[in-house]
Amino acid sequence: MRKYDHLFHAYIQGIILIGFALLILGLVITGNIVYYIAPMMMPFIYFAMITFFLLGIVQIFRSTKKDSEHDTSCQCDHDHQIKGPAPVKLLIYSIFILPILFGFIIPDKALDSSIAANRGIQYGSGLGINQASAQTSVKEDGEENSLARAEAFLEDPEAYLSSLEQFSDDYIEEGHNPYELESFYDEDWFNEYYDELAQELSKESIITVTDRNYLDVMTVLDLYLDQFIGKEIEILGFAFRELDFTENQIVVARFSITCCTADAGVYGTLVESEEARHYDEDTWIYVTGTIDRGEYNDFIIPVIKDASITEVDQPDSPYVYPSYY
């Protein structure tokens, strides 16, 4: 029987760990990490990246030690060796190497309308329940365009990095999470938030839907639709069509991500316009028009009427996120 070669396994494992770290680092540097992970989860991703680098280096050092040392220094049962004949070992390591290769080689792309079709579009905010709080003032958001949002995201990593230590410390040691639960308990506060937002939005001459206020505006339009009929709105998203749509109907939609794309939901607004027929699904479009009350599948939903549509580039951050994070 051949001896289990600790050195070689430690060595290969170390290199795979560094490969994972490089993959995450590459995604962060190119900014393409936004296609995979919600900004709110980024502290954990930085934690993973740094840990991978560290563990990778530790593993490679381990592989330079004398074989006997591991056996005596560690009083553990050796239950975690990679077992099996050589082909099995190769297969096991391939399982780890493949995601790294996929990550580097297959183009990073946002989810598209085929996923939206499978999941079903939520018109407006769905139940009007997915969105709560947000410390960000709406006025500020109103002035922001998607470019500013993108810039804000690029600045985010630093802020996240600084909060990372705090966050994970809390998480591990105290057994607490950093979110303040108490402040969210108040039902009145919830209604007040959207009440206030609705007030502020009514004052605006034109409602600008940004990446940051997307889900909030969807909720407000759901809750207080009557108040906004006849108002101008501008919104950006990808084009989507239901099978039963007429030629002049189109949906402008965004994916909303909480943690990762597995929990993606699709939130869209129905647009009725003569121009709709010119745009293919998955084209990113910028829509301006007037809000009206419409109906789809027996639900009252907001509709953008008399809309003008222009094709735009995909924003740097293709998804939107619940605002209270």
């Binding site: 070689f8 290969i12 494992q13 290199i15 490969g19 490089l22 680092l25 995604l27 190119t30 393409n32 296609y35 995979y36 992970i37 989860m41 991703i45 993973a48 530790v58 591991h70 220094s73 560690c74 009083q75 553990c76 049962d77 060796q81 096991i92 780890f96 190497i97 790294i100 580097f104 080689i105 297959i106 183009p107 990073d108 792309k109 989810l111 085929s114 996923i115 079709a117 499978n118 769905g126 139940l127 329940i129 997915n130 969105q131 709560a132 591990i172 057994g175 607490h176 999470n177 979110y179 639960l181 039902e187 919830f190 909303s256 909480t258 943690c259 990762c260 794309t261 597995a262 929990d263």
Partner: protein, 340 residues
């Protein structure tokens, strides 16, 4: 001969590292590669969701393996024996409470439970941890609260938390009555075998840190492969399963509950985010089926089934799966059919 062999091995490693570095430096060019743009969009979506789940779960797996490694190095079997009540049934209640304190999700809990059982913790207590910890934690509480914000009574939130607590004890009890505290871990290593006194001098702080890191890596490579396989299968379902089919199947109370449980199993969502997915179904599904989705998913899903099969004996895992499924379904039906 041996020397040649070593040289060859070094070369493999170096080539792999070199390969990763090249990919890292070229990733921008690769991303804009025309040739790769011909990959069908569906498969790019699979890839996006697959990587998304893997990258998302990795930090939590790492947390899990670190906690497990710390337990391995710092918590002795005697300590565990001392703190646990002698009677396994009596231990179930404190176990559920402890599960509520541990902020570990379903990815992180498996290595921790496995390690604790290896250290001599009763199987039934481990089972309670396994099903209680992913639901009964503050992050999940908060996300469920938000997702079902518009519900003034918070029925879903309290049903989810309440059921998780009660059912974890029931499930622990049932599995205790079947398996007692027999060893159901797959590894043939017996639990109490090493009282060897090879290390006479006390390990220094530095060697302990080193041991923790080494253990963490070993365990990451053990757990990681199952996570990656599970994530891939989940990504396939996420991409190709048309959710409209579910709504047509799930018309009545019982069938929609069953459908949502199957769905929770296949999607393998993180328990921190599943409430948002559930709330997006809200229009078509009853409270009963949504609660079933939210209780069943974190207790049992595709990605942790693969991990369970790797670490526990098949007979145990199958019994565990049947128990959890039956108990959750029955409890939800009783709760929403007769009590609420």
């Amino acid at each position: 001969m041996n020397r040649k062999n070593n040289f060859f091995k070094d070369l493999i490693g170096l080539l792999l590292l070199f390969f990763f570095l090249i990919l890292f430096l070229m990733s921008d060019t690769l991303n804009n590669n025309e040739m790769l743009n011909d990959i069908p969009r569906a498969w790019i979506n699979v890839n996006t969701i697959f990587l998304s789940i893997v990258i998302e779960a990795i930090p939590f797996i790492l947390l899990g393996v670190f906690v497990s490694a710390l337990i391995q190095i710092y918590v002795s079997e005697d300590t565990i024996q001392r703190f646990l009540p002698r009677n396994a049934i009596v231990a179930l209640l404190p176990a559920a409470l402890l599960g509520a304190i541990l902020p570990l999700c379903e990815c992180a809990i498996v290595p921790v439970v496995r390690r604790l059982i290896k250290k001599g913790m009763p199987l039934s207590v481990g089972v309670v941890f396994l099903v209680a910890a992913p639901i009964l934690n503050p992050v999940v509480f908060a996300s469920t609260y938000f997702a079902f914000r518009s519900e003034t009574t918070n029925t879903i939130l309290y049903s989810r938390m309440g059921l998780a607590f009660v059912l974890s004890i029931i499930i622990g009890g049932i599995l205790y009555s079947i398996f007692k505290n027999s060893n159901q871990l797959r590894s043939d290593v017996t639990v109490h075998h090493h009282h060897h006194i090879t290390n006479i001098q006390k390990p220094t702080f530095f060697t302990r840190i080193r041991d923790v890191l080494h253990h963490a890596v070993d365990e990451f490579f053990m757990m990681g492969k199952y996570l990656i396989i599970g994530a891939f299968i989940a990504a396939l379902f996420q991409t190709f399963l048309d959710r409209a089919i579910l709504t047509t199947i799930g018309q009545n109370d019982y069938s929609s509950t069953a459908v949502m449980m199957v769905f929770a199993y296949l999607l393998s969502l993180c328990s921190e985010a599943d409430a948002f997915v559930a709330s997006s179904f809200g229009r078509q599904f009853t409270d009963m089926s949504l609660v079933a989705f939210l209780v069943y998913g974190p207790m049992l899903d595709l990605k942790n089934t693969i991990m369970l099969f790797a670490f526990f004996k098949s007979r145990f895992v199958i019994t565990f799966m049947i128990t959890v499924t039956v108990v959750v379904f029955a409890a939800v039906v009783i709760l929403f059919g007769f009590i609420l």
